[in-house]
Symmetry: C2
Subunit: 348 residues, 2 copies
DNA sequence: CTTATCGGTGTAATGCTTTACATTAAAATA
DNA sequence: TATTTTAATGTAAAGCATTACACCGATAAG
């Protein structure tokens, strides 16, 4: 068989290898490698000779070979539940910033609530395609996480979310306190019928927030008014639940505490549709402080999370674990209630 | 909570090699490799024996070794200008879907308008860390792209955006026609003072849209009313430009055609602040049809791009290029004007 | 003046898979 | 039956960088 380009044949303009550099610098490949990996082990003169040779032949290390030999990949997998949620973009920025600085790449894995995908991404670790996993969702098979956390050499950090029954290194906020803060604020405005529009009920962060809601109402003697509705964090579920919750009734809530800004914005739309003025007749609080929350009508009161910081700290922690450096395994970052125009004193 | 074990997930974190499989299946490593890479080259019996052995020892190929040997990485770099722009999330989904199906990973590179970052990502190709580049922004050093496109073996596809003077394989929409459509619609509603709020003036897609705006106004004899303002696609620039454009004046525009939904939503906020009712006194058209456009007030009339499809087709094209398969180098996908509540007949 | 020490460098093994080429067994042909 | 073809498998050489170990000359210590 005569073919101009053989199947599997490589680049005709073959990249130079470390051998070519060694030849050009009249030294061994070991010396070249050392010049790159630990320059202090090499004479000033050699270093210069090798550097010149590298420039001369246009050498760049073959990363696959390096990865193979070092049994690492300098890649970190970040697992998200849903990349289209704008909440994550700043977290990603924070992560990438720290990762790049430390010479790592970030492979973003959108799980789309599909366990098979999550497993595929986890599998990148044992096959040396990734050095660590940054988990931004609890919606992955628990067994996977348990196996991983049981392994000593499986660097895994959780951010934002967490598992109630698995102790992973975690960067998180205090969801309980954040909820207490929000509800306290609503009560202080005079609200008595306050509904929580939660994310998926099984989600640990939602459970925490609901607990905060619960306890705060109880502390004010409002336990009778407890009412938790469930959404999925998205616009649409907020809108639909809003229509239901705000339907005419003599126990219609005067305030809704939403577990995401998207849902809160959905509720605002429902309120508009039902001609319920916000904040005059209804107060709405969101969660996350996404970009939109300043541009909706009315501007949204919400709980802000330090997203960039979450991403940075989570990545720092993960890299420490990868390098087996000592690190604080748990960090709770602070949130902030940002009061805008979607909340106000109760009027009757 | 019940922890279910996934099918075939016994000890996925300890990695046997192909040798272990060969031993267990009593054959050579070559046969194992062939069983995986080209099963038809192997007896039914062997195939089964090997498959059983693989399952038995829990083998998964070491990808770094494979990559090294095959001189490929099965990784594709997708370069975005800004990951926090929700416009890209569906495109990413489309890309990933096709990529995964073909056995590729997608490495998302946020350039953040930083040429150095873009260059770093481009460099992944010659070092075998990536097999192709999917470019979703024209904000990268032109020299890089020119060098790359000059190489015969540099698979590079552009999506959404393009370069006026470099002929790259491209998946795009007809920005000119989309703009014409939008402006025609506004004129048909009676608008005469129509402003375009463009993205960065140097951006080729914006130039096309401005050209469509221009020509449409000219076609209606409205050339005198041409007025192009410049933003950066973000909320804030829309808001600020909105405040300027809508300042009291006897030539205040009655319609604004924005090159992104975010800017359009910013304009809506400015209009609210200036007590200009939309659509009664001002019509606003956005571009992209992001999720939020249905939840703002009023719901936004906008031009929808087939984002998932753009991602899919771009990835298909790129993979064809990588595999040296024949492929259509240019595709223009169709847009749709989605009329909601931010546009209406001119009233005065 | 030896001997131990040490910094700098080279040699060669190693990581794991793929695949060209060699070999063998089986089937097809003469 | 002998010979050619074909199919299936095995052997071993890449692919490229890293690094344990060996080596050498030079300096420090005795």
């Amino acid at each position: 068989m005569l073919t101009t380009s053989l199947p599997g044949s490589r680049n005709i303009y073959a990249m130079p290898t470390i051998k070519d550099v060694a030849k050009a610098a009249r030294c061994s490949t070991a010396t070249v490698s050392r010049t790159l990996a630990s320059p202090e082990k090499v004479t000033e003169a050699t270093r210069e000779r090798v550097s010149r040779a590298i420039a001369e032949v246009g050498y760049a290390p073959n990363v696959a070979a390096r990865n193979l030999r070092r049994a690492e990949s300098k890649t970190i997998v970040a697992l998200l539940p849903d990349i289209s949620n704008p909440f994550f973009s700043e977290i990603i920025n924070g992560m990438e910033e720290v990762a790049h600085q430390a010479g790592y790449q970030v492979l973003i894995g959108d799980c789309e609530h599909d366990p098979a995908r999550a497993e595929a991404y986890f599998r990148l670790l044992p096959t040396n395609q990734a050095d660590g996993v940054l988990l931004l969702t609890a919606e992955v098979p628990v067994s996977l996480v348990q196996q991983a956390s049981a392994q000593t050499n499986f660097p895994l950090v959780m951010a934002c979310e967490f598992f109630a029954d698995i102790d992973l290194p975690t960067i998180t906020i205090d969801n309980y306190q954040a909820a207490r803060h929000a509800i306290d604020y609503l009560v202080s405005l005079g609200h008595r019928r306050i509904v929580t529009l939660s994310g998926p009920a099984a989600n640990p962060i939602c459970i925490e927030r609901v607990r905060g809601y619960h306890d705060t109402l109880a502390a004010h003697g409002l336990s009778d008014a407890i009412h938790v509705a469930e959404g999925d964090f998205g616009f649409r579920s907020g809108y639909l639940q809003g229509l239901t919750l705000l339907a005419p009734s003599n126990t219609r809530p005067t305030a809704i505490f939403c577990h995401s800004d998207e849902m809160a914005i959905g509720v605002l739309k429902a309120a508009r549709q039902l001609d319920i003025p916000v904040p005059e007749k209804l107060s709405v609080i969101g969660f996350d402080n996404i970009g939109f929350s300043e541009y909706c009508e009315p501007e949204l009161t919400t709980i802000s999370q330090p997203r960039t910081q979450i991403g940075q700290q989570a990545m720092r922690l993960l890299i420490s674990l990868i390098k087996n450096e000592p690190a604080v395994r748990h960090q709770t970052l602070s949130t902030q209630l940002i009061v805008r125009q979607s909340t106000g004193k109760i009027q009757s």
